[in-house]
């Protein structure tokens, strides 16, 4: 899995004085196979893009990746997208593009926690839990859900990495979270991210 949360700010090195840059987000989806990232990054390089952030994952054989690139403001984004699609279509992959606005990403001050839920799979589990998070203004920074099919009935494990704002009423939020988990038949746990880091990282 590829993941880079901090910008690899190569754009600073390649930018010429006077260049005005813009940022573009690409989404690529399709069946996983070796060489996808090589193909995408080759096209981006040839089109004069500088890669800033990449995140990639594979879910049940489906490759999904997000690229944030910077290019000269005068460059043609549509031409870039066309070049990508031409390269990726034979691989069964689809690409989408969006120009990023000038908005700053939300800078919520809070602490990072990991919430996990485990329980029998049924519709509405994530919708039910995330409703509580949204209600308390808690942002999900990473989400992973996996099935444990060896268990009877199959169990669904969801791992939410969240930022909890400092002003959050911890007792109230924890009670709401546990209450909803109980309604959904889930075993819910919330731990500070530091615990996992301390236990697992040397």
């Amino acid at each position: 899995m590829i993941s880079a949360r901090k910008p690899i700010n190569n754009a600073e090195f390649f930018r010429m004085p006077g260049d005005v840059m813009k940022k573009i987000v690409f989404f690529v989806l399709g069946p996983d196979r070796p060489g996808i990232i090589a193909s995408i990054s080759r096209v981006l390089f040839e089109q004069g893009c500088t890669l800033e952030d990449v995140s990639q994952t594979i879910l049940q054989g489906e490759f999904i990746s997000i690229f944030i690139v910077s290019i000269k403001d005068s460059s043609d984004g549509d031409r870039l997208l066309a070049a990508l699609r031409e390269k990726l279509a034979p691989l069964g992959l689809v690409a989408h593009m969006k120009t990023m606005g000038d908005y700053e990403p939300s800078q919520q001050s809070g602490e990072s926690f990991i919430i996990t839920t485990v329980g029998p799979d049924k519709p509405g589990l994530i919708a039910g839990m995330t409703e509580i998070l949204a209600h308390h203004g808690i942002n999900i920074t990473n989400l992973k859900a996996v099935s444990r099919i060896e268990q009877k009935p199959p169990h669904y494990i969801t791992i939410y990495e969240v930022d909890i704002p400092k002003e959050t009423d911890f007792h109230c939020f924890r009670a709401a979270l546990q209450g909803r988990a109980k309604e959904l038949g889930l075993d819910c746990n919330m731990q500070h991210r530091e615990i996992f880091e301390q236990v697992n990282q040397v």
Partner: protein
């Protein structure tokens, strides 16, 4: 970045293995409270302890909730009272103990440790006054623990102190005879006592320590037992070398959590963080037993031949993992085998699998010694001193801490039950050889010289 496997494995440890922080102990120096007036001394102590510890319980609970790791016990260790209050009489020492007990209750602290003295080379007037006050002080208080260091590798064994402590233990048992001699459950005689123990009854704040400091005792033995059980279930062919590796890794994780919580509490209190004590401290609850670890390692019971080897391996693996996890490891840092505080060990004592002699042998490789051992109430003071002297010798020669916390249960004989309640648990009274054979040796008194530090064979 955390992987889902790391997250799930950590959660298993947190949820299913009773991972907690066993104690957060605030050390408070009392040397700046000194006075020639007992009332003034008590007032100074109350003022200082209250100022430093008034939020200790709330902060521990708050951080425990935030991190999802409960802090089970919140305690205070103080400078040895015999030194900080060296000018006072035994009667005044009792007043100090009662005042400390009152402070502990007001602050909702489990125990205050440090009502003790360091007498390995000799006794001051204050040391003697404190020891003389122990029976009454421990009878009149609930939350005060007393430790007397009677020996060290550098000083040898103060046999006059050992003899005195034999008598003091008898008197303390008699003073609390209505409760099976519970006073003795809070009285321990040490060799090589560390200055930063967070666990009771040995906790005190050494003279080389800061004005205030947070020391932490990590989680109990349930985590280690479950890790061994899970590993053996997944791979029944695991040998002791690989099981030792499992224990080591578990200890690493437990220590990391303990230090994290300790540092957070220290930050909030505005005092420095001291050490993590790696000791596996059992409680009288199912699943929280050091004795059960022996069974997980294939022994029918603690006390069976092989137990000393198993304990040596356990102790060593715990230390290796913990020392890698933290640069500040201290206290006793090993496995405790307190008979009454551990359901499984108490059961081994009841069935006769665990005898006094085997316990003593095991203390040569564990972190404390003869701990919470109930003995017949009519055991003579000289025999008690003889047992203490043997235990001191093990510590002095092996350059390690050892201790004796013996409870001669008034009016009860070997095989009967003694119940102390709460964390102190209950146990069958062990049979010991008490035929007066130690008296001549103990009455000689004096100081057994320090051992040579070379030619270690």
């Amino acid at each position: 970045m955390l992987t889902e496997r790391e997250i799930i494995a950590t959660l298993d440890m947190l949820r299913n293995e009773n991972l907690d922080v066993r104690t957060v102990t605030l050390g408070v120096s009392l040397f700046d409270c000194a006075s020639d007036d007992a009332g003034r001394f008590i007032s100074n102590v109350r003022s200082k302890i209250t100022r430093l510890a008034e939020n200790l319980v709330d902060i521990c609970d708050e951080i425990g909730l935030k991190y999802g790791i409960p802090v089970v016990n919140k305690r205070i260790s103080i400078s040895p009272v015999a030194a900080a209050a060296g000018g006072f009489s035994a009667e005044q020492m009792v007043l100090i103990a009662v005042a400390l007990d009152d402070m502990a209750a007001q602050l909702r602290i489990d125990f205050i440790g440090g009502f003790g003295a360091l007498v390995e080379k000799g006794m001051t007037k204050g040391d003697r006054a404190l020891i003389d006050s122990i029976p009454e002080a421990l009878a009149k208080t609930e939350r005060i623990c007393s430790s007397i260091n009677a020996a060290s590798t550098n000083a040898g064994i103060n046999m006059d102190a050992v003899a005195l402590m034999g008598r003091t233990i008898k008197q303390t048992a008699e003073a609390t005879s209505g409760r099976d001699g519970i006073g003795c459950a809070k009285l321990v005689v040490f060799a090589n006592i560390p200055q930063d123990v967070p666990f009771m009854a040995g906790a005190y704040l050494g003279v080389g320590e800061p004005d205030a400091v947070i020391n932490v005792g990590v989680s109990g033995p349930g985590v280690v037992k479950m890790a061994i059980d899970r590993a053996r279930k997944a791979d029944p062919s695991l040998d002791l070398g690989r099981l030792s590796e499992i224990i080591k890794r578990t200890s690493f994780k437990v220590t990391r959590v303990g230090e994290l919580i300790g540092r957070k509490v220290a930050d909030r209190l505005g005092v420095p963080f001291g050490v993590v004590d790696l000791s596996l401290a059992p409680t009288p609850n199912v699943g929280d037993s050091v004795g059960e670890i022996f069974q997980s390692l294939g022994l029918k019971s603690i006390g069976c031949p092989g137990s000393t080897a198993a304990l040596a391996m356990l102790n060593d693996a715990v230390k290796k993992g913990g020392i890698f996890a933290s640069s500040h490891v201290g206290g006793l840092s090993g496995a405790f085998i307190p008979v009454s505080e551990d359901l499984n060990i108490a059961e081994a004592a009841r069935t006769g699998r665990l005898t006094m002699e085997k316990l003593e042998a095991m203390t040569s490789v564990c972190s404390v010694g003869l701990d919470m051992v109930a003995i017949p109430g009519d055991t003579s003071a000289e025999t008690i001193s003889g047992i203490i002297a043997d235990e001191m010798a093990i510590g002095v020669i092996n350059h390690k801490a050892t201790a004796a916390r013996l409870i001669p249960v008034p009016g009860k004989k070997a095989g009967e039950r003694a119940a102390f309640g709460g964390l102190l648990g209950e146990a069958t009274i062990l049979n010991i050889r008490d035929d007066g054979g130690s008296a001549g040796f103990i009455r000689l008194g004096g100081r057994i010289p320090a051992p040579v530090h070379s030619f270690r064979n």
